[in-house]
Symmetry: C2
Subunit: 156 residues, 2 copies
DNA sequence: CTCATCTCAGGCTGACTGAGATCT
DNA sequence: CAGATCTCAGTCGGCCTGAGATGA
């Protein structure tokens, strides 16, 4: 039987692959943790944006959370069904829905904060505090550089 | 118009989210780069494993690359169609296919190595060499700790 | 019998695109 | 008119499961 197989040298230290593998682990942990509360990452992100910035249009929420306009519709629907947020037409701009968090939503968000913190702890378990800071710093620089933007550079 | 929107505080420095965002950027860059050569990440990983370890069964290749047994079938099919690898029954164990890279596959892999290196450079652009090493080190520790395994811990 | 291997036939989520209706 | 907003419909790749056939 072939049990102890190694990863190819070309792949082993490839930064893009390492980042992706780490993200897979992180997402697995966070998803499992949030699933225990019956929510997904998008739900947490959306509630967080609403709690911190107040009522907003779906387009604005998409910009703040990185959730696509198309997925935003479904995410808002799901949370509205559970009464964790409310959607109402904007009287000042009738194209828009104004989305607001409810009291139940705020309360749920507080619970989720704890779960998310636990998940971070599990994800970062092997790293002491100083290394965690370094990691956050390095990743922040990468993410800032590439921008949340999904569009490519129009340079030609 | 609402152009300059910030990310919620709760999300901004969340390690799991930063890792995921960085992975998104990395994958976008690598995918776009490889797409120019008509291949996907799985193709590169599979060719790399074949070139470095020699002919192997599909199950062994899956263990080395992390490609699922189910996706492996399709990936091998695609590369076999392009004559970048060959699949032959193992005379010693008739359950197995022995997959081998072809000369064309090796040649293509060399081209892809260059593209992948360019993509890493683009991904890591904002980081000087010392920081790149640190990042690889930190991510490696995380990935090693959580294991490539997809199964959860049976501890209870 | 158990176990490994290969294959097919799916599911599911996240990221994303196109297009249309509505409105500024 | 251009441009923003919301919605629906659908694509795609990656990750994953179940189950069957074959064979060690």
């Amino acid at each position: 039987m072939e049990t102890a197989e190694g990863t190819p040298r070309r792949l082993r230290a490839l930064p893009s692959r390492l980042t992706n593998q780490a993200a897979l682990s992180a997402n697995r942990i966070v998803d499992r943790t949030l699933a225990a509360a019956g929510v997904r990452r998008y739900h947490y992100a959306l509630l967080a944006a609403l709690a911190e910035f107040g009522p907003a249009s779906q387009a604005a929420l998409g910009r703040r959370t990185g959730i696509d306009r198309s997925d935003m519709v479904a995410t808002v629907n799901e949370l509205a069904d559970r009464r964790l947020l409310e959607r109402a037409p904007d009287p000042a701009d009738r194209r828009r829905n104004i989305v607001s968090i409810t009291a139940a939503g705020r309360s749920r968000l507080t619970d989720l904060d704890r779960l998310v913190a636990d998940a971070q702890e599990e994800f970062l378990a092997p790293l002491p505090a100083a290394d965690r800071r370094r990691l956050v710093d390095l990743l922040t620089r990468l993410v800032d550089h590439h921008g949340d933007r999904r569009r490519a550079e129009p340079e030609a």
